[in-house]
Subunit: 194 residues, 2 copies
């Protein structure tokens, strides 16, 4: 399994991906999640209260979407994403399951979970996947700052503590110095959505 | 030119690459540098006192190497890299020029520069390039933290101010939480080399 995970960009450590899930009523959801690969296992930890938590509990399925669009990271973390962001693929039981249309790759996973407490911890088992496109993606410190700011913004929404807001604002200079227009748009969007 | 730069991973904003250069005596050098793409131009700013500054002044050439090995980022920022890291390609005048063997892509560039002051500012013009391999590279917050720590470590070496050291140390928890073995090795190496 390890070589296949490598190929899909799920490497050792925590991989920030967009997880797509389906509700019991058939509504797709997208949220950024850190997918943990350690000791040959792929895992997620999802906190109670999120749609992702409910959906994984209901369906036992999720898809990891390898996405490098900072605007989509912000939007899926802090609001609902538009329906047209999703494409539907067939699972092995013939049902439709949402993935992100413009992802570099997606992998559908079965979640072997235990959701008794406030955190759903699931070991993940690959079912099917697809690599859409591979690119040479630059290292851009502003892109990386958007990811940090998104993490802080989700904490700010839960705890409403101004220390998170000032930490988000501390990235402003690196965004304007190192960012392209996409990073700047994503960073500005954070302030509109929190 | 823009589509070609996109394909090589040199996007709008500042792209952190490893720049290889050649001294007048034929010795290769590698150093991480932010390559700036704005308004259709590709530029670098290189500070006086570095080998990269001297070499670009002497030869008018540099190569951008798109590299995602955090250990190589640390090593090239804070020390000399081993000779075997370099491969030599032929320039259009038939001379050998160093690139990084294990890079995802390299692009040889002619530097139209003005090195009157303490900063060499050069507009860069592509000569030749090669894409070695494209992968799905994950977003890993520990990898990103290594890049930030490298920036701080180079400042620490110049200014020997402990504030940089404590900022580098502040990344320790994210490295151990999110990193794979490569990010951990790279982070530990910073403390050995500063």
């Amino acid at each position: 399994m390890n070589k296949e995970l490598d190929r899909y960009g799920l490497w050792e450590g925590i991989n920030e991906v967009i997880v797509t899930t389906l509700s019991a009523l058939g509504k797709p959801n997208a949220a950024p999640i850190g997918m943990i690969r350690r000791d040959g296992k792929l895992m997620v930890r999802v906190y109670k209260g999120s749609q992702t938590y409910t959906n994984i509990g209901d369906t036992g399925l999720l898809a990891a979407n390898m996405v490098y669009d900072p605007v989509l990271f912000v939007r899926s973390a802090l609001s609902d994403v538009a329906e047209e962001v999703f494409a539907f693929i067939k699972t092995d039981t013939g049902e439709d399951f949402p993935v992100i249309t413009d992802c570099s790759a997606w992998m559908l996973l079965r979640a072997e979970h235990n959701n008794g407490s406030n955190v759903l911890v699931a070991e993940l088992h690959p079912i099917i996947g697809n690599i859409n496109h591979q690119t040479i993606r630059p290292i851009n410190r502003a892109f990386n700052a958007v990811i940090e700011a998104v993490v802080l913004a989700t904490r700010y929404k839960v705890f409403v503590n101004d220390k998170y807001l000032s930490q988000i604002k501390s990235y402003s200079s690196i965004i304007s110095k190192c960012g392209g227009s996409t990073e700047k748009e994503a960073y500005d969007l954070i302030f509109k959505l929190i």
